[in-house]
């Protein structure tokens, strides 16, 4: 017994070194798996507060670009106004943000909230964005985040009371459903961790005629992202010899260098969709079991 105490006293610093390493590494690997970490909620509040103070100053340097983006967005929205169309044409308008509910009206599908980016990283392989809206303002995990000019930025992975962390498209674990705007073939957008200007799109079949410069938008199959919002344009087409799919290099539509005002979008029917999906799997499994 005495020897044990002697041993502990002799190697006191080494043991504390090992203990701290274990704590640090377990935090790291747990976070990478579940995006949850010890003390993160409180720490998020503190870093968020400091970041928003710093951001107040930083804002002035991006006002011009931001103004331009907002103006363009307004322009595109004004073009959608009903009084721009004559009666004969109204039947052909596709209103993506609402779903026909019954003859008396519409049922809202996507709820948009505005938010402000307070911190942003670009240099790492796992880039996160911090925004100044949290669970108190109704933000939840997996909500989509769209830039002020309507291009996709990422999705929320973690929320505290007043701030949330957004996993940027520039994150090596990020996977977003996308489709070609022309052909409506869908694939997956990911990032290879190299150049923050380019993303990779996989899963577009070679039968699709793709031209350089084609637009890639969010897929109609996504639970989180509203369909039809711009992700980027095709920059390069790689013919993958081993499969029947292209590997496309996509230039991002959003300028991740100067994000400022963003929208956070909630799919109001997501719970229903997910529940149906889960129940279907369960039901089919049960039917299969009964057959055996």
């Amino acid at each position: 017994m005495r020897n044990i105490f002697l041993f502990i006293r002799r190697y006191y610093t080494f043991i504390s070194f090992l203990a701290l390493q274990v704590v640090a590494l377990s935090m790291l690997f747990r976070y990478n798996k579940y995006h949850r970490a010890f003390f993160l909620g409180k720490a998020n509040e503190i870093t968020g507060y400091i970041n928003s103070k710093y951001d107040k100053v930083d804002d002035y340097f991006h006002l011009k670009e931001e103004n331009l983006r907002v103006h363009r967005m307004n322009d595109s929205l004004i073009n959608l106004l009903r009084n721009n169309f004559s009666v004969a044409d109204t039947g052909s308008i596709v209103v993506t943000d609402s779903m026909r509910y019954d003859t008396s009206g519409m049922k809202q599908r996507y709820l948009w909230r505005e938010a402000k980016v307070v911190n942003n990283s670009l240099l790492e392989q796992k880039n996160y964005i911090q925004i100044n809206r949290g669970s108190r303002q109704g933000i939840k995990d997996n909500m989509a985040v769209i830039n002020s000019d309507g291009s996709i930025v990422g999705q929320v992975v973690n929320v505290s009371d007043n701030f949330s962390q957004v996993m940027s498209l520039l994150h090596v674990q990020s996977r977003v459903n996308a489709m070609m705007m022309k052909s409506r073939n869908s694939g997956t957008i990911e990032w290879d961790g190299k150049n923050p200007l380019f993303l990779t799109l996989r899963g577009i079949p070679k039968s699709d005629l793709i031209a350089i410069g084609d637009t890639v938008v969010t897929s109609i199959y996504s639970f989180n992202f509203p369909p039809g919002w711009r992700i980027g344009t095709v920059k390069e087409k790689v013919d993958d010899k081993s499969t029947n799919f292209y590997i496309l290099k996509i230039k991002t539509a959003a300028n991740f260098q100067n994000l400022q005002q963003v929208f956070v979008i909630e799919n109001l029917q997501k719970n229903e969709q997910e529940k149906l999906d889960k129940d279907t799997h369960k039901k089919v499994d049960e039917i299969n079991k009964r057959k055996q």
């Binding site: 640090a24 998020n44 503190i46 990283s121 670009l122």
Partner: protein, 177 residues
């Protein structure tokens, strides 16, 4: 100014520099990422005990981690260099106590050559371990090697330039203090 106050101010300044300037400047290249916040640990006074060095290292790393959303990554690397630091200091400082009465490691207190070695070894360890942990989750081996060398290079360059441009006023250890 007392040592405690000095180091608290340094802590805030280094974290601010890292989070708001170095992490935000447009990247020159994806391999060249200047990281110098750990200089705070390198500059701590000699009088800090080995156990407290570890604790301070852990807190420094974790504070940066909460800003960059990588909980534990920088903390692990900082604890490593905080653990290795006393061995290096023992190796590089003069053995005669009477000749040696500075409070903290700097180019003037232990000489340019030993100081450069001290910074180089710890920088290399910090970046090597940090990028190793990143590489475990993502990336190729060649990326890992190039990134360690290039980030160590740019960080060394910044630290040595900083040391020449902003020489610290040296404090002597006296009997009265």
């Amino acid at each position: 100014m007392s040592d405690l106050l000095r180091n608290i101010i340094r802590f805030v300044l280094f974290l601010g520099l890292q989070v708001y300037i170095l992490d935000n400047i447009p990247p020159l290249h994806r391999f060249i990422i200047p990281v110098i916040y750990y200089l705070f640990i390198l500059w701590l006074p000699f009088s800090v005990s080995r156990f407290w060095l570890l604790v301070i290292g852990f807190i420094t790393g974790l504070s940066l981690d909460y800003f960059s959303m990588t909980p534990g990554l920088h903390a692990a690397a900082c604890v490593l260099i905080a653990y290795v630091r006393p061995f290096l200091v023992n190796l590089l400082t003069p053995k005669e106590i009477s000749e040696f009465n500075y409070r903290e490691p700097s180019a003037r207190s232990i000489g340019w050559a030993p100081y450069s070695v001290y910074v180089l070894v710890l920088t290399f360890l910090h970046h090597g371990y940090l990028i190793f942990l990143e590489w475990l989750q993502f990336g190729t081996f060649l990326d890992f090697i190039i990134k360690v060398i290039s980030t160590t290079g740019i960080s060394m360059l910044m630290i040595l330039t900083g040391e020449v441009l902003f020489p610290r006023r040296l404090k002597f250890r006296t009997n009265t203090a």
